[in-house]
């Protein structure tokens, strides 16, 4: 697949503006985590996913990013984005498989997606199954049950990308529930581990390509990202986990995203 990084960067810019507009118009949503995940999702949809591959989103609250990327890719109509969270919309506040064609799983409640992806990967051994999770949801026991399952069944076709933005609802991951050394935890759990800058397309593509070549073990890509990336007053500020900007903040944010 021929990839033009400059093009992906301009797509990412549009996705960030879409996210802001959706959350502003809806008056609700999760801008911080949506903005940190942009490059990961753009990379997956524009440079990784092939016909038999599947993507599972685990931290479903960042769906404004998912919906925007799907719209940029032409998988859903761009005009749909304005309906996010409205009554009757296919763009639910957390993504639902039966309401929106083109997604694999229903998600939102944290810690479930890796297990869904692992179950799928255990059946579809010939396809690559990607799953994006957050570092915050590593608090969940269900997530670690899936980590064990994937290692036991040697799901080398399962590639997890952790959007490691360091923030959860009520503060930093470090304050709320320190995760210790995630790299060592995954290594000890018999996973391949890659550590990258989650806003660098080169690093995302490189790590995914290496992960695809691995045999016998599932892979995790620990992607360091900036919560609220691109908007100065949102960056690394937990207040923006689930909050819509007011008129003034929206204006300022859109100025910064120009």
């Amino acid at each position: 697949m021929e990839i033009d990084i400059n093009n992906l960067e301009s797509i990412s810019g549009r996705v960030r503006r879409n996210i802001l507009e959706m959350v502003y118009k809806a008056g609700s949503g999760h801008p911080g985590g949506s903005l940190s995940a942009v490059e990961i999702l753009v990379a997956l949809y524009f440079g990784v996913l092939e016909s038999d591959d599947r993507f599972f989103l685990s931290n479903g609250h960042v769906c404004p990013a998912l919906y925007s990327v799907m719209a940029e890719k032409g998988l859903i109509d761009k005009s749909l984005l304005a309906s996010y969270t409205e009554l009757g919309s296919s763009l639910q506040g957390h993504p639902e498989k039966t309401k929106l064609k083109g997604i694999e799983n229903t998600s939102g409640p944290l810690g479930l997606g890796l297990a869904q992806a692992a179950g799928f990967a255990a059946i579809k051994k010939g396809s690559y199954i990607y799953c994006m999770t957050s570092d915050g949801e590593h608090d969940e026991g269900n997530h670690w049950e899936a980590v064990n399952f994937a290692a036991k069944y040697k799901l080398s076709n399962l590639i997890q990308i952790v959007d490691k933005n360091g923030i959860q609802i009520e503060g930093t991951v470090e304050e709320i529930m320190p995760l210790g050394n995630l790299k060592e935890k995954y290594l000890a759990s018999d996973w391949n581990v890659f550590e990258i800058d989650g806003h660098s397309f080169d690093e995302i593509f490189d790590s995914i390509s290496k992960a695809r070549d691995k045999k016998d073990k599932p892979s995790v890509i620990l992607a360091e990202t900036v919560f609220g990336k691109g908007i100065s007053f949102m960056e690394s500020n937990p207040d923006w986990h689930a909050k819509a900007p007011n008129d003034e903040e929206f204006k300022k944010a859109m100025e910064e995203l120009k």
Partner: protein
């Protein structure tokens, strides 16, 4: 004949496995006691041992269902659906996936293990979830038929099984259809309809015999499907008998009794009495029979409730 429902389930599962390559089985470290060992040995590639991890049991199975499989997932009912309510709601039911949740040792079956291991809430938990089908067979043969029926219904489904050997009260020819209640005992002029599910129906049949001896005719209905409930059969029974007693090895609140009452109050009103567990926890005992006695689920309790409801009906 005394035989266990879980054996019926395990045997049906092997039959299903031979016919349908999409059947997969997952268990949370309870392959033997939930009777999926034979399936595991016969179809090792379609069996997944997830460890003592009930949350993964459900969510991994949901992923397999997304990939086109029909997963049967087994544990004790106290753990799944007991621990896994949200996983079942979000990953299986909301996407309307054909995940088959098999809760074994339901009711007082794990008598010796105490309240932590006795599942008296599982029907209530499962029947409030949209898309979910809830089936509670009454014996070995019906468990076998129910297993095959839920495998084929294309819906998220809960199959409730007991641990103990219990009296087989149906026969090979008894019809089993999801959502269709079965009349186990008819009589010419029944004064009360006893509507129940699960192995405790054997007590209802014994109660019917004794009541007949003292001149009280009753009808006994096996309402094996709690959802979708057979409202036509229940309304007809209410019309014919004019009084209902429900019987279940479960909390009355939210269980079969509640489900029947919801039909009765919206259809043909008749007085009702409930035989079931009345908002208390179980406890350890050597046998489930001791607990049926202590918590009021025996033939004697049913007879008493029938007499009571007749007085209410005639007053």
């Amino acid at each position: 004949m005394m035989k266990s429902m879980r054996d019926g389930f395990g045997e049906a599962l092997v039959e299903l496995g031979k016919k349908n390559p999409d059947i997969v089985v997952l268990t949370a470290d309870l392959a033997d006691s939930t009777r999926v060992k034979e399936f595991a040995e016969t179809f090792p590639d379609r069996f997944f041992q997830v460890g003592v991890a009930e949350q993964a049991l459900v969510t991994v199975a949901a992923g397999m269902a997304e990939a086109g499989k029909i997963p049967f997932i087994t544990s004790y009912a106290v753990f799944s659906p007991g621990r896994t309510f949200e996983q079942i709601k979000v990953t299986a039911a909301l996407s309307d996936l054909p995940v088959k949740i098999v809760g074994s040792h339901a009711g007082f079956g794990a008598s010796m293990y105490g309240a932590t291991h006795q599942s008296l809430e599982d029907i209530a938990l499962m029947r409030v979830i949209p898309n979910m089908v809830v089936v509670s067979p009454c014996d070995y043969l019906e468990a076998k038929k129910a297993t095959i029926a839920v495998a084929e219904n294309g819906k998220p489904s809960y199959l409730r099984l007991a641990r103990q050997d219990s009296l087989v009260i149906t026969d090979e020819n008894s019809k089993f259809e999801i959502g269709k209640a079965v009349i186990l005992r008819e009589s010419k002029d029944p004064q009360v309809a006893i509507i129940g599910c699960g192995p405790v129906l054997a007590e209802a049949l014994a109660a019917a015999d004794e009541l007949k001896d003292i001149g009280i005719e009753v009808m006994v209905i096996n309402n094996h499907t709690i959802k979708p409930i057979d409202d036509i059969a229940i309304t007809n029974a209410a019309r014919i008998c004019g009084a209902i007693v429900t019987v279940e090895e479960h909390q009355v609140m939210g269980g079969l009794g509640s489900a029947v009452a919801e039909v009765v109050v919206q259809g043909h009103h008749v007085p009702m009495e409930f035989v079931g567990v009345k908002d208390v926890f179980g406890e350890s005992a050597k046998t489930y029979q001791e607990l049926w006695k202590k918590f009021g689920l025996t033939k004697e309790n049913i007879i008493e409730s029938v007499k009571k409801v007749i007085i209410r009906k005639n007053s």
